[in-house]
C-alpha cells in the first residue's frame, strides 16, 4: 500500500503507543507508523493476495497492452450500509462497481486502485472479510489491485468502512460503444433478473422481515460482455442499471441518443419474491438498483445470438424492448404495461421510499 495513511492522525496523536494486540481499528492504524505497517502486511496484503500490489513504494507501475487502443479510467466511491448483506459486501461491490463501469464502456478492465476510509472501532475481523472479498472479486474479474491507501477517522465520523476504487482498462479500436451508436430498430436486452440489490439492501437496512431472503445480484458483468465480443457480437451501447435501476438506464440513453425506446414490462425478468415485496412496499422493481446486470442495445440481426450467449451465463437474461425512430424533440422512453397500455418513463424523483398504504 503506497501512501498508507501517513498524514491522517500523526499530528493529532503525537507519540501514541502502538497497540499490542487489538481486535479493532484504532486511530494509530492510520498514523503511518508501525501499526499501519502491520495492518498493511498482515491484513491488506494477505487478504488481497495480489502479486502486483505495491506495498513499499508510493506509486504502482504496470504494463498496458501493446498495439492501438486507448486507456479507459473510471472511479467510484462506496458507502453502502450495512457493510455486509445477503449476496455480498461493500468490498466486492467496490470492485464490481468500477469493473462493470469499464466493461460497459467497451473497455477490458485491467487494474484497480483501492482507498479505504476506516472508522475507529471497526472490528478487524469485519475488515479482513471485506478486504478478502475485494481480493476474491478482483480475481473473479481478472483484474489486479495494484495500489491502495488507508485512512482512519474518529469513531462517529464514518460508517465503518468507506471505499473508493479507480479502475484502468484498455479500449481496443472498434469496441467503443455508447448512446450515439443506438439506432432505430435496435433491440434491448438485459443480462439477468433485475431489482434484487436495491431490495436486498432496503430489506436489511430497514429490518423488513420477508419470508424469503432476497440476495443482492452484485457481481461482475465482464464475462457476459467479453463473451459477446468473443463471438463477434458488437453491442451498440451498454449500461449497468445501478442507482435508479433499468428505468434510469433506459431514460438516460433515450435522451442521450435522441431516440424513442420502448420497454416491455412483461419482458423484464423480475423474480416473483422481488415483485411481491415491491408490491407490498409500493416500489417499482424496474427502478431498484442492480449491481451485476447489464442492459445492452444490439442490432436486430445480432439480437438472438446475443440473447443465447447471455443465457448461457444466466438463464434469466431476456429481450426487454426496442428502439423506435427518433421522436420529435428530445429522446424519450415509454413502458408497455402489463395490461397493454403505454406510459411515459421518467427518471425516479428521489430516494425510493415505501408508501404507507
Amino acid at each position: 500500500m503506497a501512501d498508507a495513511g501517513r498524514v491522517a492522525a500523526a499530528v493529532a496523536l503525537g507519540e501514541c503507543p502502538i497497540p499490542a494486540a487489538s481486535d479493532c481499528v484504532q486511530l494509530v492504524h492510520g498514523a503511518g507508523g508501525e501499526a499501519s505497517r502491520r495492518l498493511i502486511d498482515s491484513l491488506f496484503a494477505r487478504e488481497l493476495g495480489d502479486p502486483l500490489l505495491v506495498t513499499d513504494r508510493d506509486a504502482a507501475t504496470f504494463e498496458m497492452p501493446s498495439g492501438p487502443g486507448q486507456i479507459a479510467l473510471t472511479t467510484d466511491s462506496f458507502v453502502v450500509h450495512p457493510l455486509e448483506f445477503p449476496g455480498g459486501d461493500i468490498g466486492c461491490l467496490a470492485v464490481y462497481g468500477t469493473v462493470n463501469d469499464l466493461a460497459v464502456s467497451g473497455a477490458r478492465p485491467l487494474y484497480l486502485s483501492i482507498g479505504f476510509i476506516l472508522e475507529e472501532g471497526l472490528s478487524l475481523a469485519t475488515l479482513a472479510r471485506v478486504v478478502g472479498s475485494v481480493g476474491w472479486a478482483a480475481r473473479a474479474c481478472g483484474v489486479h489491485v495494484v495500489t491502495g491507501d488507508t485512512k482512519v477517522v474518529e469513531r462517529g465520523k464514518g460508517d465503518g468502512v468507506y471505499i473508493n476504487t479507480a479502475g484502468v482498462g484498455w479500449l481496443e479500436p472498434g469496441r467503443a460503444c455508447g448512446p450515439s451508436q443506438v439506432q432505430p430498430g435496435d433491440v434491448l436486452l438485459v443480462s439477468g433478473d433485475v431489482g434484487r440489490h436495491g431490495l436486498a439492501i432496503l430489506a436489511l437496512r430497514e429490518g423488513l422481515g420477508f419470508e424469503t431472503r432476497i440476495e443482492s445480484d452484485c457481481g461482475s458483468v465482464v464475462r457476459a460482455v467479453e463473451a459477446l465480443w468473443e463471438r463477434g457480437i458488437r453491442p451498440r451501447c451498454m449500461r449497468d442499471p445501478t442507482r435508479g435501476g433499468v428505468v434510469t438506464a433506459v431514460v438516460e440513453i433515450a435522451r442521450s441518443a435522441g431516440v424513442e425506446i420502448e420497454l416491455e414490462s412483461l419482458g423484464v425478468p423480475v423474480r416473483a419474491d422481488v415483485r411481491a415485496a415491491c408490491d407490498v412496499l409500493g416500489l417499482d422493481p424496474l427502478e431498484m438498483a442492480c449491481e451485476g446486470r447489464v442492459v445492452l442495445w444490439v442490432a436486430e440481426a445480432h439480437a438472438d445470438a446475443a440473447l443465447a450467449c447471455l443465457r448461457e451465463l444466466d438463464p434469466s437474461a431476456a429481450r426487454v424492448g426496442r428502439v423506435r425512430a427518433r421522436a420529435e424533440g428530445r429522446g424519450r422512453a415509454t413502458l408497455r404495461t402489463e395490461i397493454g397500455t403505454t406510459r411515459w418513463l421518467d427518471l425516479p424523483s428521489g430516494i425510493a421510499t415505501p408508501r404507507i398504504c
Binding site: E338, T341, W344, D346, S349, R355, I356
Partner: protein
C-alpha cells in the same frame, strides 16, 4: 400475463363493457391515493370512455396532513433528547419552513420506520431518548398505532409518544358531497380502509346523497370492476354500497382492529391540508392515553402563519381540477421541488400525473385548464 388481476384480455373486456353500459357521461371519484397511482400508472383512464371522468380524491394521507403538524414534527425532531420516527413518504412533505428531511439535515433526529411497532422497538432500545411516532394515515394504519400505544402503556414505557394525524375517510366524502361545487356521481371507496372499517359507514352516505359507493381494490381488474359496478348503478338510478374487493373486505370490517381503534382513539374535528377543517374527520388519543400524546408531553410552539401559495392543490384535492390544469404543474412544481403536498408523495395525484404522463401533455393541459 402477470396474474388474473392484470390480465390484458379481462381488462379490455371490462373497459368495453363499461363503454357499452354508458348512455351519458359520469364523474366517479377514486378515494385512495393508491388507486390514483394505479390508474395513472396503468393508463386505465385511457382505456375507458372519455365521458367517464375519473376525479382523484383526497386519499393520500401524507398529502392531507396539516402543515401545522409537520411543523410540530420538525420542531420535535430538533428538540434535544427527542427522536421522531415517521413513515418514509412523510419526510418530503413540506411544512411552512421545510420538511423532515431538511430538519434532519439541520441536525434533527428523524428515523424512517415501516410500522409504529418499529418505533416502539426503537423506544425500548433507546430508553434515554424520547421517541415520538408521527402517526399518519387513514383507518388503515390506525389499528397498528393503537396497538403500539396500548403496548407502550402495558410495558410502562415512558419515552414513547405519538404525534397523531390520523384521519377518517367517510367524513371527508361527506364534506365533498356537501360542498356547493360537488359534482361527484359515485365513489370507489378505498379497499384497504374498508378492510379495517367494513362498509357500514357508507350506506347512510349512499342514501342521503344518492351516490353509489363501491369498495374497490388496487389492481387494473379491480379498478375496472369497481367502475363497472358504479356505472351499472348510475345508469339505472341506484345508489348502494357494493363490495368489489370481497377477497379482502368483510362488510363488518376487522373486529379486533375496530376494537383497538375504539379503545385508544376518539373522534374529533380535524383540519385537512387543502380542504380545511372537517367535522369528526380525525382520530385523537382518548383522555386515558393523554400521557402518550406528544402535544401534551412537549411544550410545542405556536404554529407559524402560513405563506400564500400559487399552487392549486386544494382544488386538486377537492377533485375540482386535474393536476395538469394547475398553472404551476410541471413548471415551478415538480417532485424534486414540490409546491403542494399532492406532488410530494408518490400517492399524490399531482406526482402520479407527473411521473406517468407525457411531458407534452403538461403544456397542453395547462393551457386548456
Amino acid at each position: 400475463m402477470r396474474d388474473r388481476f392484470h390480465d390484458p384480455e379481462r381488462v379490455r373486456q371490462l373497459a368495453a363493457r363499461i363503454g357499452r353500459r354508458m348512455t351519458r357521461g359520469w364523474r366517479i371519484m377514486e378515494v385512495c391515493g393508491g388507486q390514483t397511482h394505479a390508474i395513472v400508472r396503468y393508463g386505465i383512464d385511457e382505456l375507458i370512455p372519455a365521458e367517464l371522468e375519473l376525479i382523484h380524491g383526497p386519499g393520500c394521507p401524507v398529502c392531507v396532513t396539516p402543515i401545522e403538524l409537520i411543523d410540530r414534527a420538525c420542531e420535535l425532531a430538533c428538540t434535544p433528547g427527542v427522536r421522531v420516527c415517521s413513515f418514509g413518504d412523510m419526510l418530503r412533505v413540506p411544512g411552512s419552513s421545510g420538511d423532515l428531511h431538511s430538519a434532519r439535515a439541520r441536525g434533527g433526529r428523524v428515523q424512517i420506520v415501516y410500522s409504529p411497532l418499529d418505533a416502539l422497538a426503537v423506544a425500548r432500545a433507546q430508553p434515554d431518548t424520547q421517541i415520538v411516532f408521527f402517526a399518519v394515515g387513514f383507518e388503515t394504519t390506525a389499528p397498528a398505532t393503537a396497538l403500539s400505544v396500548a403496548r407502550a402503556r402495558a410495558e410502562g414505557l415512558r419515552n414513547f409518544s405519538l404525534l397523531v394525524a390520523h384521519v377518517r375517510v367517510p367524513p371527508a366524502l361527506e364534506a365533498l358531497l356537501d360542498a356547493p361545487e360537488a359534482q361527484v356521481d359515485g365513489f370507489l371507496a378505498a379497499g384497504h380502509v374498508c378492510s379495517v372499517m367494513g362498509l357500514d359507514e357508507y350506506a347512510p352516505l349512499c342514501e342521503r346523497y344518492h351516490v353509489p359507493i363501491v369498495a374497490t381494490g388496487f389492481t387494473p381488474v379491480d379498478l375496472l370492476e369497481g367502475l363497472l359496478a358504479c356505472v351499472d348503478q348510475l345508469e339505472v338510478g341506484r345508489a348502494e354500497v357494493v363490495n368489489q374487493y370481497a377477497r379482502a373486505v368483510a362488510s363488518s370490517g376487522n373486529r379486533s382492529a375496530l376494537e383497538l381503534i375504539r379503545q385508544v382513539f376518539q373522534v374529533e374535528d380535524r383540519c385537512w391540508r387543502g380542504l380545511g377543517s372537517i367535522r369528526s374527520s380525525g382520530l385523537a388519543l382518548r383522555a386515558e392515553f393523554a400521557e402518550f400524546d406528544a402535544e401534551h408531553r412537549f411544550a410545542l410552539g405556536v404554529p407559524q402563519p402560513l405563506p400564500a401559495s400559487r399552487c392549486w392543490s386544494a382544488r386538486v384535492l377537492r377533485g375540482e381540477v386535474k393536476p395538469t390544469a394547475c398553472p404551476e404543474f410541471g413548471r415551478a412544481c415538480q417532485p424534486l421541488h414540490p409546491l403542494g403536498a399532492p406532488m410530494v408523495s408518490d400517492e399524490g395525484a399531482c406526482a402520479a400525473y407527473y411521473r406517468y404522463r407525457a411531458p407534452g401533455a403538461v403544456e397542453a393541459s395547462a393551457v386548456d385548464g
